[in-house]
Structures are given as C-alpha cells and as structure tokens.
C-alpha cells in the first residue's frame, strides 16, 4: 500500500494528479494533534492512511466493509468507520486510540477496559474504546437511541445509560471473542466516572 513512488509536487488544491497506479491527491491529515502532509492514491481509506502511511496501527482492519467497527476512530469528535472514509475526503481532526491518553495517563475508558478485563484477544479493543468515548459524549449531549421509546426519551439533558442502552449504542462494534458483558461493565464504569 505504500505509495512513496507516486509522491510528487503538491499542487495545494487536493486535486487529482495521475501517479503510476492511479490519480493521487495531496491530503492534509491532522491526527492526534499532529499535521501530516501526504500525497495519497485517491483510493486510500483513512484506515490505510493511518496504518500504512503514518504507522498508527491502533485502528484495526477487521472486515474492511464498515460492518465490524474494529477500525473506529474519531473524526471531528464523532466516531466513524475509518475503512469506509476516503482519506482525500477527510479534513477534520482525527483522534485514534493512540491519541486518547493525556499527560501519560490513560483515558478513563482505557483504564476501565483494563480494570474490567473487557477483552480476550484484544483485536477489536481500540475500536471498542474509540466508539465508547464517542458514546459517552453522545449520551451527555442527549442523543436518543433505538431502545429508548420516544415518549420516554428526555427532550433535553443527558441520556440515561442503562445496560440495554450501552449494548444498543455499542452495536456497531463486534467482538468475536464475546467479551460483551465486560465491555458493557467497562463503559458503565467510565460513564459513572464522567457523570460523578
């Protein structure tokens, strides 16, 4: 996937320019606070840009079709499947699992996953954690979910995160080891931490 050979003059507009294997574009990615100027084949997904060009291998390639959530990262603070987002179309700041810790201290969700042993093989874990970080933000902003009947959903204020709510809101992240009960525990713990 390395496209070093196609790198060339930056035309500064992100417009296409043919390389040996296909049109390329200059792409500026802001990842975990660092700005990267890249020239990428237009076909490069954000996931491949992170893993193959920036050596950020936290986000995982599971299904590569937006079905498993292993590639979940935050773009502009929102969780997305990085395998379905073309890097050339991405111009908001990206946060990956590598960028969650602050001042040498793990993010509360990372700590909760460790404390609750919320994994077995660990392959889905970076995606689970990034997804859960956004889940807490969404709940704090009062976003509704499928399991909350509309008449029961609060018109404003934070959503009530029951176990059913956490399971529904984490449904975009599969865990083939089946560590779901502990994942729900970890998210619930982190939620209690943040609302305390």
């Amino acid at each position: 996937m390395d496209r070093e050979g196609t790198a060339g003059r930056d035309d500064g507009r992100g417009e296409g320019r043919d390389g040996p294997e296909g049109p390329t574009s200059s792409v500026t990615l802001r990842v975990n606070g660092t700005v990267h100027a890249l020239r990428l084949d237009n076909r490069t997904t954000l996931l491949d840009a992170l893993r193959e060009h920036l050596d950020l291998t936290g986000a995982k390639k599971g299904c590569d079709h937006g079905q498993c959530g292993a590639c979940t990262v935050l773009v502009g603070g929102r969780r997305v499947n990085s395998c379905l987002l073309l890097a050339v179309a991405c111009d908001e700041p990206v946060t990956t699992v590598e960028g969650l810790a602050r001042d040498g201290r793990l993010h509360p969700l990372q700590e909760a996953f460790v404390a609750r042993d919320a994994l077995q093989c660990g392959y889905c874990t970076p995606g689970q954690i990034c997804s859960a970080v956004a889940l807490l933000d969404e709940a704090a902003a009062g976003h509704p979910s499928h399991v909350t009947p509309p008449h029961a959903a609060r018109a404003e204020g934070a959503a009530d995160l029951t176990r059913d709510e956490i399971r529904e809101r984490m449904s975009g992240n599969l865990c083939r080891c089946g560590a779901y009960p502990h994942i729900v525990d970890a998210v619930a713990d982190a939620h209690r931490e943040t609302v305390r």
Binding site: G14, E15, G16, E21, G22, P23, S25, D41, N42, R43, T45, D64, H65, G66, G69, T72, R78, R79, V80, N81, L84, L85, L86, V88, A89, S131, A134, L135, E138, A141, G142, H143, P144, S145, H146, P150, H151, A153, A155, R167, E168, R169, S171, G172, N173
Partner: protein, 326 residues
C-alpha cells in the same frame, strides 16, 4: 478498487459541472455505501465529485410549519434534531433503527435515499444480476431470497430497498428536491424510487447528473411511529418494517398514512390500506382489515412467505399503539 479522480465541489453548480465531465461520475457524500460498493467492484466510477462541503447540511423549519432537510445532513444529526424528535418521531425512530452509530454519523439524507440493495447477488460480482449487469439474469428468484421482495417484484429483479429512513419519509408525504443539468424539480418521495419492472438497473427516477439537494416534510399530519423486525436486536436490515402516521377524531380515523419497508424494491406506501382506514373506526378490527387489503397483493417467493404475516403483525400493532396514544 479501480482508480478514480476526486474533485471537491464547494458550490452546488460546480458539482453539477464537474459531474458532467464523465457519464459514469458519482457524487460522493458520506460514502458509506458507495465506497463499499467500489471495494466490492460493484461500482467503478472514474470520477468522484465530493459534495461533502456543499451548503446542504442544515435542517430548517419551512414557512408552512414543515421541515426542510438538506441532502448532506448526517443521519445521526437528523435523528437527534429536536424538531424531528418532537414532530416526526417516526423519522427519528426509523433512522435510529438503521445501521450503526458510526455509519449514521457519516451517512447523509441524500445518500440514504440512494443506497443500493443488499441483495447478495447484486453485491457479489461473481454472480449474474440484472440490476448490476442488465440482461444477465436474476439468480435470487430461485436462489437465496429469504430477505427479498414479496410485493411489486418482477421476473427481472426481486431486490428490496434497504432504507429505514425512506420508509418513514414515504409515510410522512415527504417531497424530494433535485437539481440537474436541466434545472431544479421536486417530486413526492413515493415517486422517487421505482419498481424494477424490466429496468431493474434503475433504482430511482433520478436523471443523469441530477443531485438530491433537499427533502421537504409537510407539517405533521398526526402521531407517528416506526416498527422494524430483523434477525438481530440491532444493526441489521429490516425483514419487514412499518412506518405509520395516524390522526383520530371522535374514535374515527381522520388521517392515516402507512408504508412498509423490507418488502419491495421501494418504500411501499400502502394506499389500499389507507383507503380502508379513512373515516373508519380506529380499532384493531379495522386496522387488520386495512392491512389485509394491502397485503392481498403480496406474491411471496419460495422462502420469504413469512414476511407477509410479519408485516401484518407489525402494522396492526403500530396502528393500535398510535390509536391508543391519541
């Protein structure tokens, strides 16, 4: 994935002009379905016109008390919008019952309408498919079709439209605004998607180069709800779903709009059922009679007959719940 050019449009007219450069160009918004289909080799556009930055990302009340929804409003933002939650709960519920939070954060209103069928033969380029390659045949008709159509299908195609959102929009009498090389036009959502007939490669009546710019809702005509049956509790396409809008006065149905998802090549507006409902007593007996009148047209395939009683149950339940709440 085949190589492609990428052009970002900052203005709507520019997007149309860029698209005109190639007959097989595609507009790129969220890309959650388009990029996947490109990976699968189902689509190979030589040019993507990126419309992600166009100023089509707002939700605003219209002068008549309806709602204008920009084509690039994200599904999650639309589902959480206060006016959608309070006035059009069926739309919020339909959106939240589809896909995953990650996909809803990226997928757009226009893209949701234009997503392609998840028929396994359409998505697998090693099989023939009349929708993907006209004239090659439909292996689904006698093959794996448990998830596919029971209404409105043809000898050429038994695919279903996968959207939940579009089913709610059909029941809400939404209108779709389009902008193309020949100017702007507007049509009812129920006329936007097609039945397959002998042209299953055409999902919609969209003309070459036309762009969905907005979806417009009239003021709410009653209370509303969405109910969906699927193989998993979450993150699965509908086996059958129902969107209903109901207004009751003095125990009788004053307004009823009913649409089915997961049953046909397009969101299935149940006009025959509505005919029975109009002015009739708002009770379970009426609702069952109305739904039966609609589903009498069902022509199940070998393995999907279960969808008919499933859809019946969903519809009667939703209408009964709405009547009890009003």
């Amino acid at each position: 994935m085949k190589p492609f050019e990428h052009v970002r449009a900052e203005r709507t007219e520019r997007a149309l002009a860029a698209h005109a450069r190639h007959p097989r160009a595609q507009y790129l918004a969220g890309g959650t379905n388009l990029v996947d289909l490109m990976k699968l080799g189902v689509l190979d556009p030589p040019l993507l016109v990126d419309i992600g930055r166009l100023p089509l990302d707002t939700v605003a009340e219209t002068s008549d008390g309806g709602l204008g929804i920009g084509a690039t409003v994200r599904n999650s933002d639309l589902a959480a919008h206060p006016l959608v939650r309070s006035r059009y709960p069926v739309l919020s519920q339909a959106l939240l019952s589809g896909a995953s939070p990650q996909l809803r954060n990226v997928a757009t209103t226009g893209g949701n309408l234009l997503q392609r069928t998840r028929c396994p033969y359409f998505q697998d380029v090693s099989h023939p498919c009349n929708k993907r390659e006209p004239g090659t045949g439909c292996p689904a008709r006698d093959g794996v079709h448990r998830d596919l159509a029971v209404l409105g299908h043809s000898a050429h195609c038994v695919a279903t439209h996968p959207s939940d959102m579009a089913v709610a929009l059909a029941a809400l009498d939404a209108r779709v605004r389009l902008l193309g090389p020949d100017g702007a036009r507007e049509l009812p959502l129920t006329d936007f998607h097609r039945l397959p007939g002998d042209r299953p490669e055409r999902d919609t009546v969209l003309r070459p180069g036309e762009l969905v710019t907005e979806v417009v809702l009239p003021p709410p005509a009653g209370t509303s709800a969405y109910r969906k049956a699927r193989d998993r509790a979450s993150y699965a396409f509908a086996l059958a779903s129902v969107a209903a809008v109901l207004a009751v006065a003095d125990g009788r149905v004053r307004h009823a709009a009913l649409a089915f998802g997961g049953l046909a090549h397009r969101p299935w507006r149940a006009r025959a059922a509505e005919e029975v409902l109009r002015g009739a007593p708002a009770d379970e007996e009426t609702f069952a009679r109305a739904v039966d009148a609609e589903l009498a047209a069902a022509r199940p395939l070998r393995d999907n007959g279960f969808k008919v009683p499933l859809a019946r149950g969903l519809a009667v339940r939703v209408l009964t719940d709405l009547a009890a709440a009003s």
